[in-house]
Symmetry: C2
Subunit: 352 residues, 2 copies
């Protein structure tokens, strides 16, 4: 595979996490946690007890507060915007809700050309509270802390729209993908422009890097990912080439090179992949992010410490390393353990 | 990696599927489907409406009938014993049930040395109906059709025992595995001998090959799998070295070599791995099994046919190929499509 030529951002005035994600090795890896703003924090649960998920995602004050909670508590090197990957779909009028204990549920699944044609472009005013919150959050972050914007990748968004909700098997999605490639590509192209535009708006409002979540891309094998998904993720990431771009999916060990080649500067590594293998596969071309097993946070501290050190050591072999979990924080996680992991990572200084 | 020396069975009087799984390339790949005896068949649902799952698993007549249903309907090249991986645990007195819509639920999770010590050896009389059914099934199968015995691998069994039921995160399992390796190894050693003995009994009763299901091994990264799981799967498979041994886990693309090196003759390939990659990685040392995406069976026939042909073509590069899905049959699958896939595979003749 020929490594793609990527515009790698290197700005010494950027926060460390943006520099690392752009492809620069730092003496101490910056650290944040996927789903750091969420149910592991009592202060989050207290707030959410009074507000439905989607209401919170369209309230600038709540977005700001929830985004800042883990930054204050854990001293992580980045805030990630509190939101959900379906927010831009809701914003353009798709009738959906986020049902507690289940996830996003779409009232009318998208399965025809007419359904696709109804998905209109996203405009700044559709997500005004989000963009307002970004400004407020930047005002609260220290200059060395980054704000990460994010969006869902076209495949993962399509899977929710086609299935009508979360799925473990993606039968409707795959039936459409394999059975009507023309309609499939039309749908993913629409979603790519919506996701991409959402990233672009977040960057314009102040996000210093972005992460594209293709949460369920691991349900595909490599040739199908390359033919049917990757071009559209590339379209989406093409909207955010002025900032570093992390690209992550669960269970994507088979797809790491392709996930990088979709236009990322940093490849998010699932916890199932040994970080040394990941660095060998993609660390010469991209920064890597990850990849502590979130379930490991339930083990005694010495077991956690040993693996954090091993991941940091392995990450030093890559073009850049952002320390993170290899999947989102589990709701039952003790937040004090997360804080302790941040302290440990911050104490590990190596040769740059 | 040095390929392990394996006792490869080559007996011309064996059914084709046993020959292929032992590591011999055949002109036409033999075919069966994981979960072929199950909810996709109306005749199965009719029978199960009157019998709880575990009751059926300990009734020789029901085991025989349910095992034979897909063989009669689809003309597959093998029957797989109708059972469940928790059957040997139930048989030695573990208080568990299989709850519809949820899976195996264990009354008292296993988390202490005393819990481990209570797991006694499995004896033939504990699974007498299963062994009786094996004789009856062999009596109904044609000589060219194989009977596959199976067991759950120690890690997957341990995950049910420790969590108390199905899990998506394995937090208790991993906390024990990383936090108390001595107890972990004691538990897995116990389970390895129970699983292994169950395989041995099935072979003695007439099973012509076996499959070890490490369904959830894909939740582990490679170094942890090698240190904490593989030795015990090797112990289990060591009980069945007189027959070909298929070894499979979901989402195990990172672990294919290690799954083979645990003492298998045939590596089951998850649908997420491109079969050409799988053959490149392990096909020189082991036969491969798989790996049509079960969700693809919901697509139009031309899309299915194209991918069946591609998998058969790729499989010809391996030491042997057993055609199968890359995960179990989904309950909503149209059984006529499965029959058509068998007909297609049987029509594809290549150079041996």
């Amino acid at each position: 595979m020929t490594p793609p030529t990527l515009p790698i951002v290197r700005d010494e005035h950027q926060p460390a996490l943006a520099i690392a994600a752009a492809g620069r090795q730092l003496p101490t890896p910056p650290v944040w946690f996927m789903r750091q703003a969420g149910r592991s924090l009592p202060e989050y649960r207290a707030l959410r007890a009074e507000h439905a998920m989607l209401d919170a995602c369209f309230d600038a004050d709540l977005i700001t507060e929830i985004t800042m909670q883990p930054v204050r508590r854990h001293n992580v090197d980045a805030a990630i915007l509190f939101s959900d990957i379906v927010v831009p779909l809701k914003a353009i009028g798709v009738d959906l809700d986020i049902v507690p204990g289940r996830g996003p549920v779409v009232a009318a699944p998208v399965r025809t050309r007419a359904d696709v044609d109804r998905l209109r472009d996203l405009e700044a005013e559709d997500v005004a509270p989000v963009l307002e919150a970004i400004g407020a959050i930047r005002g609260q972050l220290r200059p060395d802390q980054a704000l990460i914007g994010f969006a869902g990748a076209p495949f993962t968004l399509a899977s929710y729209l086609i299935e009508g909700g979360p799925s473990r098997t993606y039968t409707h999605t795959k039936a459409l993908m394999y059975g009507d490639p023309e309609l499939w590509h039309a749908l993913l192209d629409r979603l790519a422009h919506i996701s991409g535009r959402y990233l672009e708006l977040q960057v314009a409002a102040g996000a210093q890097l972005v992460q594209l979540f293709d949460s369920w891309a691991g349900a595909l094998n490599r040739p199908d990912y390359v033919d049917l998904v990757q071009p559209h993720s590339r379209t989406a990431l093409g909207y955010a080439t002025s900032v570093p771009r992390i690209h992550f999916g669960v269970g994507t060990g088979e797809l790491l090179e392709e996930i990088g080649a979709a236009g990322a500067t940093c490849v998010g590594i699932d916890f199932r992949v040994d970080m040394r293998d990941a660095v060998r596969r993609v660390g010469g071309t991209y920064a890597v992010q990850g990849n502590l097993d979130p379930a490991l946070l339930f083990a005694p501290w010495p077991a956690i410490e040993q693996r954090v050190r091993a991941i940091v050591d392995a990450g030093r072999g890559a073009r850049g390393h952002v320390f993170n979990l290899g999947h989102g924080v589990l709701p039952e996680t003790d937040p004090d353990v997360l804080t302790r992991v941040v302290e440990l990572v911050h104490s590990l200084e190596g040769a740059a």
